[in-house]
């Protein structure tokens, strides 16, 4: 999985100065490290691949269980996971 070079890439310390304070985006949010188990990591990577090119949120895939994503992606990831979890549960028809 190739790292996506995104325009808001603030994490290279020695090569680039971030225009916003302390490497935050224009809303003041910081990038997010995602720690999960392997299936969930794959799920998130899949979610990323399904996004159109301008909205891809993974900055870097660190290894099988660690990802590094853009600040705005947190909510999207959480809602996608909870939808996935709901699809996985069986509701007895009333």
């Amino acid at each position: 999985m190739l790292p996506q070079e995104t325009p808001n890439c603030h994490w290279r310390l020695f090569s680039e100065e971030s225009p916003h304070p302390a490497g935050t985006d224009f809303l003041g949010r910081t990038p997010i490290a995602v720690f999960s188990d392997i299936p969930m990591a794959q799920f998130i990577i899949n979610l990323n691949a399904a996004q159109p090119a301008s909205q891809k949120f993974i900055i870097h895939v660190l290894d099988g269980t660690h990802l590094f994503v853009q600040p705005h992606a947190a909510e999207m990831i959480r809602s996608a996971i909870s939808e996935f979890r709901d699809q996985n549960s069986y509701e007895k028809p009333a």
């Binding site: 994490w11 310390l13 910081t30 490290a33 995602v34 720690f35």
Partner: protein, 449 residues
């Protein structure tokens, strides 16, 4: 989910937080001395009793000679406690550079008197000629429980309580602080603390409320030392005996009314006299000091098919069970429910942890299943924990990735710098660092350059 717990803080911590003058004044009451003695760790009790009739200070070194080789940590804990409560005063002799300990003289005198003469309460139980019918112990306990439940129901949801106790709404607000959150135009909602509070056992809840009551007392102009001393004195009264209200001071009479609303005492009126009867909750005040809790009768049976049968008719218990299970039927003496994934998810969202639910079920297990090991079936407890961990599969935190290190040494030193390291990959010389220490790390690496 943040695991925030209310700690039913030990009464003694509150006592030891009092200023020195108040604490010394408290020790003038022999019952407080006995209550404090009861609450000390065993080694500290031994020290106090050993020093009880010794007038001179004892060197710290000679005290250490009393210990076995592995007892030093307990010794330290006991001494710290005693000094904190100002039972022991530390005297440092700067010339010989020795410390010695001496027992607080007021405490010592009162405890000696107490030992010799026995505890004599400032009031005697009234003769049964005047108090015609005293409630039996069972009736008294039922009354106390009813008052306490009514109070709790009112605390968490004023609409549900059948009758309102006489506690003023401002006092209620004080108790509700931290347990309920209220936004404008919405009904008050339980906070995370509130949920955890409901799942605690009665003694812990009682202590929480009493602690709030005492901390609030200063604001109302009531001296907290007097309040504490009266509460401790009350705990030494015999449960079920009537005591004349006229033996109380004005201040104590006001307090008694509040305590009656909480279910700690029962107030009764005769033709000429009125009296109060301490209930089991009141005598539990001093029992709880030593952190043992008397087990009430449990009422919940959990089966391996996740169904739950609660033999209780109390509204409060129904509300508590509704927190984490789906209630299906409510019969006159039985509540039938099921523990389902949805109901547990609701509970987790409200801030209750799986451990709290499981310990609630275990502590309140019906006597028929309580002797069985385990009292709650393992498949149920395991499944509750699994469902909780299912909600926490992904952890997200703000962080930064550092890459492109000029040399391995810089990388290694950066890894050791500060404890904010979340992940590192030595082969690619890449590391992930917590968001909070990003600025520090930047400065540090700039300096290295």
């Amino acid at each position: 989910m943040p695991q925030v717990r209310i700690i039913a803080k030990n009464f003694m911590d509150m006592v030891s937080a009092l200023p020195a003058m108040k604490l010394d004044k408290l020790y003038e009451n022999p019952f407080i001395c006995e209550a404090i003695l009861r609450s000390l760790p065993p080694l500290a009790k031994k020290y106090v009793l050993q020093m009880l009739y010794i007038e001179n200070p004892i060197l710290a070194k000679s005290m250490e000679e009393w210990l076995l080789a592995d007892g030093y940590s307990k010794h330290k804990v006991a001494l710290d406690r005693l000094v904190q409560l100002r039972v022991f005063s530390e005297i440092s002799d700067s010339r010989k550079r020795e410390t010695s300990y001496i027992l607080n003289p007021t405490f010592q005198a009162n405890l000696q008197k107490h030992l010799v003469y026995g505890g004599v309460l400032p009031r005697e139980p009234m003769s049964s000629a005047i108090t015609n019918r005293l409630p039996s112990l069972e009736d008294l306990e039922a009354y106390a429980l009813e008052q306490w439940e009514c109070f709790l129901l009112q605390l968490i949801n004023s609409a549900q309580a059948e009758r309102h106790s006489n506690i003023s709404s401002s006092m209620m607000k004080v108790f509700q602080r931290g347990l309920l959150s209220q936004r404008d135009k919405e009904a008050p909602k339980l906070t995370e603390h509130g949920f955890q509070f409901l799942l605690m056992d009665t003694n812990a809840q009682l202590w929480y409320i009493i602690r709030e009551y005492i901390s609030n007392s200063e604001e109302r102009g009531v001296d907290s030392a007097d309040l504490i001393s009266f509460l401790l004195e009350l705990s030494f009264h015999a449960t079920g005996e009537a005591y004349n209200v006229n033996t109380l001071t004005e201040f104590q009479k006001c307090i008694i009314k509040d305590l009656a609303d909480l279910g700690l005492v029962k107030l009764q009126q005769g033709r000429k006299e009125s009296w109060f009867i301490p209930t089991k909750l009141a005598s539990n005040l001093s029992v709880s000091l030593s952190d043992t809790s008397s087990r009430e009768q449990g009422f919940v049976v959990v089966e391996t098919n996740f169904r739950m049968y609660a033999y209780s008719s109390s509204k409060l218990n129904c509300e508590i069970l509704r927190l984490f299970s789906r209630i299906e039927y409510q019969l006159p003496n039985l509540i039938v429910g099921a523990i389902t994934k949805e109901s547990l998810y609701d509970a987790f969202e409200n801030g209750i942890s799986a451990e709290q639910i499981i310990s609630f079920l275990q502590q309140n297990a019906h006597p028929r299943v309580a002797e069985r090991v385990p009292s709650v079936p393992e498949n149920v407890t395991d499944q509750i924990r699994l469902w909780e961990s299912d909600l926490n599969r992904v952890e997200m935190m703000s962080a930064y990735v550092y890459d492109d290190f000029p040399s391995r040494d810089v990388f290694e030193s950066a890894c050791d710098f500060d404890s904010g390291l979340l992940w590192e990959d030595s082969k690619k010389m890449r590391m992930v660092v917590k968001g909070e220490i990003h600025m520090h790390m930047r400065e540090y690496l700039r300096r290295q350059k």
